[in-house]
Amino acid sequence: MRRALRLLTLLLCMALVLCLCGCWNYTEVDDMSIVAGVAIDKDAADGKIQLTAEIVDIKGGLNQNQAGFKMLSLKGKTMFEIVRNMISLTGKKLFWSHAKAIIFSEAVAREGLIKTMDWYSRDTETRSDVFIFVSSEPTAREILNLNTSKKAILSFELAQMMSDEKFTSTAPNVEIWDFIDKLETSGNHAVAPLIYVHEQNGKKNERVNGCAIFSKDKMIGKLNGKETKNMLFAKDGIKGGVLAVNDIHGVPTYSLEILSSRTKVKPKLVNGKLSLQVRTVTRTGLDEVMTTKDFSGNEGISSIEERASKALRQDIESVIRKLQQEYHADIFGYGEIIHEHQPKVWAKLRDNWDNEFVKLDISVDSKVIIENTAKTSRSIRLGD
């Protein structure tokens, strides 16, 4: 009896180990199509959604040092339907965990993004740290189709671009969870970076510049690259970039490299009227002097600082006014800040925030500090 019992325990252990060694639904890498990025368009003719997926092709990667790719496009009524129907094109189930970019066409964005985005954020196989873009071209898939001329997987390039975006700050860096977060908070509207095709000498390149403004989940307008930078200043979203400063005569002469920037927004209640004070402090380094005129000495530096601060202040104010008057959209998150610091006032304003935002009195104060002048301490002097 003891031996039989021992044998039984051994069998039981082996059976249990079998259950531990792998997953119930184990799939080989060869049986999956790894999706790198998707582009979502809307067919104007029949109103169906068209999904184009850029898929990593592992077969091409043996003798090259970069993986090959495949493009697949399908139309359907709902996102999930298209995704599952793609199996009929590839013969393999799509694997979403490595996807890095989603591009929406402008038509889809103007109609409302929740329709196409809910599946992506709800499904368990997709991850919410993909970068979201809006295409400035008529369709989104022509951006992804650039990969044929560039022979590189475009979505990974876009992801690399977004992670280096902080060095230029001309487009916001938005991931899906961030976008949905801003959609859900009252007192904040979302933005998304714009992509368009930049053609030069017959060669096409993708360019991320500017941003799309959303009200609720519908796109209502665009901002160009410079306005986007000012918008990021107003939002405390600048981590690097360039400020171009004019000299006394209005000629662009100096370039400041932004080392760090902090924006503090304070709501103030004066006689029952709410006003916002935006203060930016930007630490920069003087990186380019386009004249031979000397700037060394505190007078030169401080006058550059003053001019830069004034120009920045005017730029930020103009962007805020534009958002207030033209678009009635608070993309800076000021409503949320009022909610956090003055909850009682917010309770009265929140239902009509878009209109209240138009009337809001916002004053901007910028300060630019030049901390160093890079490698040389004076401009290039011309020797005769």
Binding site: L20, R127, D129
Partner: protein
């Protein structure tokens, strides 16, 4: 079987891991938004007097566990009936926790696996541990506690870059009433569930140590749950927190250190399984002990396998789907559990005090 004995350190480990249990992943009930941390602190404070009551029971009736106490104080018939209620409570709690794990497995990591498979494996493991005796559980809890501490501390540190402190403002956004509702919710799940540990009280070492074990267990576990809740709040924000079934999982998935250390949420699920394993084992132990005491069996070990299997099957059909489980856990459980956690122990305590006074008086008159 000789008398089982677990030293104080191991008892504290069991208590801490038991209380942390599934709160780590299910999160506290989220009606108070960004004031849920206040609710947890209040719940912890509210649970401390209850712990003192439980500890006093240990002093009044030393060496006896919950079922012995019930039978002694309330008599053979009524005591057995109340013990059956507690057997049902322990079984139900174990099934609830197993189902939490099954639902978590089904929605997030193992979507194609039938829910019964991971629940059955963990259930069998718990059966094995309980058959070995509560000393085995004590020894493994001590080691698992260190491991759990380590993982929780590491994950907390790694998620610090993602903290956004403005999520804590404004304080008391929704007012005091939701905070009180949440306090009651957090009090019953998980702090006062330690009543199940009373079913193992006969194994505690000496007279006075129950106070130390229960109070330190509650405080340590409370601090851990508080830290985890604050982390979830800071990373996700109150709006998102209320829409997720498993907030900790999403909060950990946001961790991204230099693009190198990402997607570690799978490894943090190990902590979930560990604490859950201790919780289910203790519930199983209490239930089997109850059956043994009610039916006057020679040892609880005879019924462990069957009770374990029943617990697993029960976990499978107890809820139709995750929404029912969510609703039950956050709304119904706090009222349903009150009789077991508060009402009956308080009555037991009062009755035990009266009995103890009577005994002392009898002894005095006998001496005189």
């Amino acid at each position: 079987m000789g008398k089982e004995n677990i030293p104080a350190g191991q008892s504290i480990s069991i208590a801490v891991l038991f209380i942390i249990g599934s709160s780590l992943f299910m999160g506290a009930s989220g009606q108070s938004g960004n004031s849920s941390w206040i609710a947890i602190i209040l719940a912890m404070l509210l649970a401390l007097p209850l712990m003192l009551i439980y500890a006093r029971l240990h002093v009044l009736l030393p060496g006896k566990d919950l079922f012995d106490m019930l039978i002694l104080v309330f008599g053979a018939v009524a005591g057995r009936v109340l013990s059956c209620l507690y057997i049902w409570y322990a079984l139900h709690l174990g099934s609830l926790v197993l189902r939490n794990f099954g639902e978590f497995g089904k929605s997030v990591p193992l979507t194609s696996t039938p829910m019964l498979a991971p629940m059955l494996i963990i259930g069998l493991l718990c059966v094995w541990v309980v058959k070995g005796g509560i000393e085995v559980l004590g020894r493994s809890s001590k080691f698992l506690l260190l491991f759990t501490f380590g993982v929780i501390v590491v994950v907390q540190l790694l998620s610090i870059p993602k903290f956004q402190f403005h999520h804590l403002l404004p304080v008391l956004d929704s007012g005091w009433k939701p905070v009180f509702t949440d306090m009651m919710g957090s009090f019953t799940f998980p702090f006062a569930e330690i009543v199940v540990f009373l079913g193992a009280f006969h194994a505690l070492p000496q007279k006075g140590s129950a106070v130390r074990i229960l109070i330190s267990g509650t405080l340590i576990a409370g601090v851990i749950i508080l830290l985890v809740t604050i982390r979830n709040l800071l990373v996700l924000g109150p709006d998102l927190l209320s829409s997720l079934y498993f907030p900790s999982y999403v909060a950990v998935s946001r961790i991204n250190i230099g693009d190198f250390l990402t997607r570690i949420e799978g490894s943090s699920a190990i902590v979930f399984v560990t604490t859950l394993f201790v919780k289910v084992s203790l519930c199983l132990y209490a239930a089997c002990n109850g059956v043994a005491k009610v039916f006057k069996l020679s040892s609880y070990r005879s019924v462990v396998l069957q009770m374990g299997l029943i617990m697993v099957y029960f976990a499978d059909f107890i809820y139709k789907d995750i929404m029912q489980m969510d609703y039950f856990a956050h709304h119904i459980y706090k009222i349903y559990a009150l009789p077991f956690q508060v009402v009956i122990p308080v009555i037991l305590w009062i009755a035990a005090e009266i009995l103890a006074r009577k005994k002392i008086r009898k002894q005095k008159t006998a001496q005189n």
